[in-house]
């Protein structure tokens, strides 16, 4: 009786797709914490409590300048927030994290901002090309299957990526760009390069997760290239380990200029 049952189920449940971005964003789990904020003014003189607890050496403080936090490297474990005695490092609860330039993910230090400088939209020509129809090829290059899974989830009924005209395709020839996960293992370097070359120009590259941005937990290993940018030019960086699906979707929509209002998790 599955035919009747599935039909009834569908009728009763109605549309299960979230209303965001028109409606409210799904809330992040309370222990997730979202993005990080670094308030350099609160960095106590000589304090380096946050530096040794960071698993990926995302935080440095070599001199008297305030601590410097690279959210591209960050795996969002929150150990630095726990260690910080002055509250200079805090969770913001904001899911939005994607940036267009690598340096926009760097907080504090001498010239860094307090929070991530969120990605702006593509320039007009590309936006006209991709804004309402973006086909992506996904390449996992040493990814652990968590970024992959939380990218995949965007295709489920709850998120329904297709409603934005974004779709993952089975061939680079059909794609407008790549979505890359993983630190780029040496074993995947050639395949990644070939896949990128097979995508017709103009093409976009989106690096998802700490690994694809900067090598993540594997940064510095001789077996990895410390992120996608070592092999191909990257247009959008989406931090996280893995990024929450909302963070990924926010990044994609931001890039396409489809988020005029700062809604996601704010």
């Amino acid at each position: 009786m599955y035919v009747l049952d599935t039909l009834l189920h569908r009728l009763r449940r109605g549309c299960e797709t979230m209303r965001w971005p028109e409606g409210p964003a799904p809330s992040l789990p309370d222990r997730h914490g979202g993005a990080l904020r670094l308030d350099p003014a609160r960095c106590a003189d000589g304090c380096t409590a946050c530096v040794p607890v960071c698993p990926t050496e995302a935080i440095t403080r070599p001199g008297p300048a305030p601590a410097r936090l690279d959210l591209g490297r960050c795996v969002f474990c929150g150990e630095c927030v726990r260690a910080c005695p002055t509250g200079a490092l805090r969770h913001t609860g904001d899911a939005r994290l994607a940036a267009r330039r690598r340096e926009d993910l760097v907080l504090g230090g001498t010239d860094g901002a307090e929070t991530v400088r969120l990605a702006g939209a593509l320039e007009e020509k590309l936006r006209r090309l991709f804004g309402r129809s973006l086909r992506l090829r996904q390449v996992s290059a040493g990814g652990c299957n968590a970024c992959e899974a939380d990218t995949n989830v965007l295709g489920t009924i709850g998120w329904d990526l297709g409603r934005f005209g974004i779709q993952f395709v089975a061939s680079p020839r059909h794609a407008d760009g790549l979505l890359i996960t993983g630190p780029v293992s040496e074993g995947m370097e050639l395949a990644l390069r070939k896949t990128w070359e097979a995508v017709p120009e103009p093409r976009l590259v989106i690096a998802v997760g700490a690994c694809a941005i900067a090598g993540g937990p594997f940064v510095g290993h001789p077996q990895v290239r410390n992120g996608a940018a070592a092999v191909v030019p990257v247009d959008l960086f989406i931090p996280g380990c893995p990024p929450h699906p909302l963070t990924i979707l926010d990044g994609l929509l931001r890039l396409l200029g489809r988020l005029e209002t700062p809604a996601a998790g704010a």
């Binding site: 009786m1 599955y2 049952d5 599935t6 189920h9 569908r10 789990p29 309370d30 222990r31 997730h32 040794p52 698993p55 990926t56 050496e57 795996v75 474990c77 929150g78 090829r137 996904q138 390449v139 996992s140 290059a141 040493g142 990814g143 652990c144 299957n145 968590a146 992959e148 899974a149 939380d150 990218t151 989830v153 295709g155 489920t156 009924i157 709850g158 993952f168 061939s171 680079p172 993983g182 293992s185 040496e186 074993g187 995947m188 370097e189 050639l190 395949a191 390069r193 896949t195 993540g216 937990p217 594997f218 290993h221 001789p222 077996q223 990895v224 380990c241 893995p242 929450h244 699906p245």
Partner: protein, 493 residues
């Protein structure tokens, strides 16, 4: 000397002084291991420990009937030794790995090729097995696949639609995990352990915590063991639900596919409710857990769990009801029980061949000593059996969580574990959602890791997928692959 004397027994999640691990000439170790495996033991790990310019081989066996593990090591070896694979097929990848990692040649190994070493931007794969004949053609798939999936290369030898042989070549995901763990624990160690296989974060993290605690001669507080057991079942629920949905999707059965895709996310969100991260990152640490399950949170977890369990039960029911879906799974991708034993299958794939093989039951440690769940077994060895085992485990894990959430121990959730003892060997087996996860750590005189060996269940099971394809139509590869759903990075490390 009989085979029993050659090994030092130990229980799961415990440590022995390295000096007490029996030392044999390599020929004796090979012979004793083969004899023990012939008598029904399983090979959990077979790896090298460098010593000067030589290598010691360590064997870790599981004697499931006795609920015990057994370890032994060889005297330092150089050059070559008689291959264990010649007597025990389940050793074939372990010996390839040993050869690749330490240059120790298993003499007589029938297919000695690299496992995951890369050169010039791609894994070094060597020649592929080829079937010759006028009607035979070869199909290569990957490394980049048609979806959001990790990379691997599949080389099929086909006669028409029928697959005569499949060779699976991995290594694309190799990130140097074991090498990096040597000399640790380092500051990045936990982050690396949690991403060995990202969908099995809790399984690998639990194994690592157990190894650290065993080395320190301590145990996490009961509440932490309880919470880890709950989290492990949540991980199982999420992944099994996702797999049922993916199987349904591959036979174009949308109702179950659409529902399970969402419910899987609901289970991941339950893990996130516990620790903030959908994959359980940051929850398990040596000495316990980093978060507790306070009464409010527990109540919320129970409520949301009930909804998700009811929904997945219903969505799975549609799949079994629909003859058009069921018929696509039956008698497809069959692995026989004899093959499963021979190649040492573990986890869901083994239980779908009718083997009662589950580390939670056979090698209980942590909370599974105190509270057990029934082993889910289904005969047949086909795609349907692997789907059925998953559905059964969803029911069992759900029941277990219901029961356990009603009453947990109320001690602390974390205690100081102590430091790892020097020159000890510790072994931990954890039944992750795919199957048995094995972590083996050997400490040096400084108490740091001299060698850290990780065996993901996928290491045992990829061979099972290759065998499942024999005699199967190549068009059924996607459902066969989904029915195993093995880890690429867990294998590649």
């Amino acid at each position: 000397m009989n085979a029993a004397d050659a090994f030092r027994p130990l229980s799961n999640a415990s440590a022995v002084p390295w000096a007490e691990v029996p030392e044999r000439p390599i020929e004796t170790l090979v012979d004793a291991t083969a004899t023990a495996l012939e008598a029904g033991a399983r090979l959990c790990a077979w790896f090298g420990v460098p010593e000067g310019d030589a290598v010691r081989v360590v064997a870790v066996l599981a004697r499931d009937a006795e609920n015990a593990l057994a370890v032994a090591r060889s005297r330092p070896v150089r050059g070559a030794y008689p291959a264990l694979t010649l007597r025990q097929t389940q050793a074939h990848l372990f010996e390839r790995e040993l050869w690749e990692q330490h240059g120790l040649e298993p003499r007589g190994h029938p297919w000695l090729k690299p496992v995951r070493r890369a050169r010039d931007g791609a894994p070094v794969q060597g020649p592929f097995f080829q079937v010759e004949g006028p009607e035979v053609h070869e199909v290569g798939v990957g490394p980049v696949h048609a979806g959001i999936i990790e990379p691997g290369h599949f080389r099929f030898q086909c006669a028409g639609e029928e697959v005569l042989h499949l060779e699976i070549a991995l290594g694309y995901q190799h990130r140097g995990v074991e090498e990096a763990l040597t000399g640790g624990p380092h500051r990045a160690t936990w982050a690396q352990i949690e991403t060995v296989a990202g969908d099995t974060t809790l399984g690998h993290a639990t194994a690592h915590a157990l190894v650290l605690e065993a080395l320190a001669g301590s145990e996490a507080p009961l509440r932490a063991q309880w919470l880890r057991a709950l989290a492990l079942e949540l991980e199982r629920l999420a992944n099994h639900t996702g797999d049922l949905g993916a199987l349904a999707n591959d036979v174009a059965f949308q109702p179950t596919s659409a529902a399970c895709g969402k419910i899987r996310g609901d289970f991941l969100n339950l893990t996130a409710l516990v620790c903030g991260n959908r994959f359980g990152r940051g929850l398990v640490r040596a000495g316990g857990c980093r978060h507790d399950l306070e009464p409010d949170r527990l109540a919320q977890l129970r409520e949301r769990l009930e909804t998700a369990l009811a929904e997945v039960e219903r969505a799975a029911g549609w799949l079994w009801d629909a003859a058009l879906a069921r018929a696509r799974f039956e008698q497809v991708g069959v692995v026989s029980p004899a093959q499963a034993v021979e190649i040492g299958l573990v986890g869901v794939a083994a239980r779908a061949c009718g083997l009662v093989r589950d580390a939670r039951f056979d090698q209980p440690c942590g909370w599974s000593r105190l509270a057990q769940l029934p082993v889910a077994v289904w005969p047949g060895g086909d795609v349907l059996a692997r789907a059925r085992v998953r559905a059964l485990e969803i029911q069992h894990s759900g029941g277990y969580l219901r029961e356990q959430l009603a009453q947990g121990p109320d001690d602390a959730v974390r205690a100081e574990p102590g430091s790892p003892a020097p020159e000890h060997l510790a072994v931990a087996l954890v039944e992750g959602w795919r199957g048995e996860i094995c972590h083996v750590a050997l400490t040096g005189a400084d108490g740091r890791f001299r060698r850290y060996k990780i065996v993901d269940p996928s290491f045992h099971n990829w061979t099972g997928l290759a065998l499942a394809l024999r005699g199967t139509a190549i068009s059924d590869f996607p459902i066969c692959n989904k029915s195993f759903n093995l880890s690429y990075c867990g294998f590649d490390l």
